[in-house]
């Protein structure tokens, strides 16, 4: 149980950057979860499975194009759409018939989806570990603070804010974004003024799941893709969304930053119990701000 080695400023800085880039992936996934939670009021347990499908789909597309640079970019673009398609089918075929039911029943439904998706992934891709190599321009590392960091982490640090800006633009400037925000606050009223709420829900669900797929596609070069990655992310995602404020996109960003940074600094300070740190951070936040850091839409 010894403390981490080399507690100097350089390793602190680089570990901080690792944490920030991890937080960007968490943010992309949690923003989707938060969006679905805000508009549909459904805790989507299957969100982690969609993230896993996104990762595996990105792997397959990458391999299909001969592991080339173009394949990598195509995987990054197409994999989220594959996930969006899967979620659209699930939503229109099954989920949309259940909106009138009690919320715990919807939770049960998404749990069933998680079980089904988990096994479908196992059927399709098998239990092997898969990995993807990023293209040449993102390979290698850059030296910062005297220690080297993978270039891909810097790529993530650029993508994360871009996604945040795009999401902000979407929810504030486009009609569908505004309608879904309105539906989050008062769904009856939205129905009354002649908007098909069912399709708004479908759109919100698909967009949320698209973000899960995007997160999955983004994470692929940094970890080995395997079964069980859905379990790992979903609980973190729920905690992040809760401490940020349910349904609040900026809350998801704040929560992800807290979670990612405490996790990576925990590795530095006390490697054996590194996983304890983010959970402890969540406990502290919830005790101080029981309803999350930012305003929740619930």
């Amino acid at each position: 149980m010894e403390l981490g080695q080399g507690l100097d400023l350089a390793s602190l800085g680089s570990q901080l950057l690792v944490g920030l880039s991890r937080a960007m992936i968490l943010f992309v996934v949690c923003a989707g979860l938060s969006f679905v939670l805000g508009v549909l009021r459904v805790p989507n347990v299957a969100h982690g499975s969609l993230y896993m499908i996104g990762a595996f789909a990105a792997y397959s597309i990458f391999r299909f194009f001969g592991s080339s640079t173009a394949g990598f970019w195509l995987a990054l673009i197409l994999a989220p759409f594959v996930v969006a398609l899967v979620s659209l089918i699930a939503e229109r075929a099954l989920f949309c018939h259940l909106y009138q039911r009690e919320h715990l029943m919807l939770l049960l439904f998404t749990f069933a989806l998680m079980l089904i998706f988990g096994d479908l992934v196992k059927l399709t891709w098998g239990p092997e570990y898969c990995s993807v190599v990023p293209p040449k321009m993102l390979r290698g590392s850059i030296s910062v603070f005297g220690s080297s960091l993978p270039r891909y982490n810097f790529f993530l640090l650029i993508v994360g804010p871009l996604v945040a800006i795009a999401l902000w633009f979407f929810t504030n400037k486009t009609k569908i974004g505004k309608v879904s925000r309105a539906a989050a606050v008062d769904r009856e009223m939205v129905g009354v003024i002649g908007i098909n709420v069912s399709w708004v829900f479908a759109a919100a669900f698909v967009i949320g799941c698209y973000l899960a797929g995007l997160g999955g596609a983004l994470v692929v070069p940094t970890v080995s893709v395997c079964l069980g990655m859905d379990h790992d992310i979903i609980i973190e995602a729920f905690l992040i969304v809760t401490i940020g404020g349910l349904g609040n996109m900026w809350g998801a960003l704040v929560g992800s930053l807290i979670f990612g940074v405490t996790q990576s600094l925990g590795v530095l300070f006390w490697p054996q119990f590194a996983i304890v740190f983010p959970y402890a951070a969540v406990v502290i936040v919830l005790l101080l701000r029981p309803r999350g850091l930012l305003k929740s839409v619930w």
Partner: protein, 320 residues
């Protein structure tokens, strides 16, 4: 919700099931006896969750932690100390109830989803400690080969031991839920504001319910040690908690015996479908979806509604 007093008919029914369960080990092969014992343990766990979930509408999202704490306490006492064995069996539930009191005390000031999320994060802390503290808890390997008293070390005697404890616990739970305490808990579930207004200390009452529920979860944990002779961190992991949660919803969480049915369905599905294919969760998912679409009140709720007109009236009176 279902205030059906125990009549002669149900007593006969329960008696017949008990006698059947008592003679089963004489005829059935080991495999089925093991599965039945596992169903008993899981049923008790699901029942204990339903005390707070179905009867109290408290979103106990991480109930598995208390099960694991009970199991780990007993396992550690039996394998690492030379204290009398029975002390280990008593310590498990008490430790679970103490942890339940501690976590509940923190969580109870939050409501619904926030309650559940805080509990998940607190519970995950305990999981992380058990998962990583190799020197004490054995880390991700867990503890194996726990020495059990010779009286209950064979499968059949473990079966009878678990059955007896289960029956005692179910009777105790039944009495607790039918007592004024249980009625108040249900009243809080149905209308917390009004309960507050007539002078019920809602928070404290719910906290008491949580302690009771976690105590019985600890008992289930001890029974798991008796059955398996080992513990591992998966007992404390949130996936298990979610599974118990689902069992309650599946069996019918507004009924007393629903969780037992839910547990039996989940465990036997896993065991039997698991024999034929490794994709048993796919089958389980499909069955769950069918149940959600066709039996919204849970399996037990469906049967009660179907065969007991009086229950149907009650359900209608609830405004559903």
């Amino acid at each position: 919700m279902f205030k059906g007093t125990i009549d002669v008919k149900s007593l006969r029914f329960i008696g017949a099931i008990l006698i059947l369960l008592l003679i089963l080990p004489l005829i059935f092969p080991r495999f089925y006896i093991y599965m039945l014992a596992l169903i008993f343990v899981t049923s008790l766990l699901a029942m204990s969750l339903n005390v707070v979930l179905g009867h109290g509408m408290i979103f106990q999202f991480h109930h598995g932690v208390f099960y694991g704490v009970g199991a780990y306490t007993t396992a550690l006492m039996l394998s690492k100390t030379s204290l009398p064995m029975w002390l280990g069996f008593v310590a498990g539930p008490i430790a679970a109830a103490l942890v339940g009191l501690l976590i509940g005390w923190f969580c109870i000031r939050l409501t619904r989803l926030y309650f559940g999320m805080l509990q998940i994060s607190l519970g995950s802390l305990i999981w992380a400690i058990a998962f990583r503290w190799y020197a004490f808890t054995g880390g991700d390997d867990g503890i194996h080969g726990i020495p059990l008293p010779s009286l209950i070390s064979s499968l059949n005697s473990a079966y009878y031991f678990i059955l007896i404890i289960l029956v005692i616990c179910l009777v105790a739970l039944y009495l607790i839920l039918k007592s004024p305490f249980g009625s108040t808990l249900e009243a809080i579930r149905d209308n917390p504001q009004r309960c507050e207004a007539v002078g019920v200390n809602v928070r404290r009452h719910q906290l008491k319910a949580i302690v009771i529920a976690t105590f019985f979860a600890g008992v289930a944990g001890v029974l798991f040690v008796v059955l398996e002779g080992s513990v591992f961190p998966d007992l404390l992991f949130w996936v298990l908690s979610l599974e118990i949660f689902i069992m309650c919803l599946l069996g019918g969480w507004f009924t007393f015996a629903g969780p037992v049915l839910g547990a039996a369905i989940m465990v036997s599905l896993r065991t039997f479908v698991g024999i034929f294919t490794e994709y048993w969760t796919l089958i389980l998912g499909v069955i769950l979806i069918l149940l959600i679409f066709f039996l919204p009140e849970g399996v037990m709720g469906y049967f009660l509604e179907r065969f007991r007109p009086q229950a149907r009236e009650l359900a209608e009176g609830r405004g559903e």
